[in-house]
């Protein structure tokens, strides 16, 4: 299992919704199912779980979409960031790994929903890579300065 920071914090891009995880992480994984693809607008979703009792929303209230009769997917209504997934009957909740303030602190261990895995997925890591500043002029980099919430809790403004 991954040792995780306690509390592990995270939230959406704009900072309207923030959360904290006080317990250990469990079952870090990615899911290729078609519902996760569409919910995340991506190849797959990346999740890490914890006990619902060890999870708290610390700022704002997320929106919710029930993607099936027994599942809640939560997201930020102000900026869209997909945040969590939970079965009604389960004691666990999973958060979107990219929404953690440190998404490198947990390593996925399984792939689920393999029946919908997209063709290009298997070779993504072999594509040539560039750094952001390699391809964008310095004056544009200044304009691209991030307005997203910092990767840490901050007092409300």
């Amino acid at each position: 299992m991954n040792a995780n920071p306690s509390p592990a914090t995270g939230g959406c891009q704009c900072g309207a919704v923030r959360y904290a995880i006080d317990g250990p992480f469990r079952n870090p994984h990615i899911c290729h199912c078609r519902m996760c693809q569409k919910a995340f607008g991506n190849y797959f979703a990346a999740f890490v779980g914890t006990e619902k009792a060890k999870f708290r929303w610390t700022r704002g209230k997320p929106g919710v979409f029930r993607s099936s009769d027994v599942v809640e997917r939560r997201f930020c209504r102000d900026c869209g960031t997909p945040l969590s997934f939970a079965y009604d009957h389960s004691p666990y909740i999973a958060v979107a790994i990219g929404s953690l303030d440190d998404p490198a602190c947990v390593t996925p261990q399984h792939q689920f929903g393999i029946e919908s895995r997209l063709q290009a997925f298997a070779t993504l890591h072999e594509l040539p890579g560039t750094r952001t500043e390699d391809t964008i002029p310095a004056e544009t980099m200044e304009k691209l300065k991030s307005r997203q919430h910092p990767d840490a809790d901050r007092p409300s403004s």
């Binding site: 607008g41 991506n42 929106g63 102000d78 869209g80 979107a96 689920f112 029946e115 993504l124 750094r131």
Partner: protein, 158 residues
Amino acid sequence: MNTSSSTSGGCQCGAVRYRIAGTLCKASICHCRMCQKAFGNFGSALVAVPAAQVTWSRGKPATFRSSAIVDRGFCAACGTPLFLREDGDPNIEIAIGSLDDPNAIPAMIHQVGVESKVAWFDGLRDLPRRTTADDRTPEDLLRLKSLQHPDRDTEHWP
């Protein structure tokens, strides 16, 4: 290259739908920290399309201005990240997972924003694999029946 004359897509709940006339252009993934947080993921997977060829056929996306010159579009009713567009860019970058057929895009050409790439990304392909049905009873699968919008345009939804 994709040569189909029309491509469709939208958010998970179906409140926002779009159509793309003509050809999809460059496809890439981005690992930058802003794409990670906006998409709640390793980063983003985007395909460029001339903005003039995109029609919002149902609803309108909401936007968050993640920097002084970039709009990120999403569905305010279910959160699906839908697009990224820089001011003045003739192209709009569509989130490929929001396409009704995300396999029907041109070949991915590169990964950008690798300064923020998470170390676990390169090993994902080789992780142990399970299908959705492997760990569930038929009864579980019935309860998990998708309420998301179908991967095609609909007259009425839901």
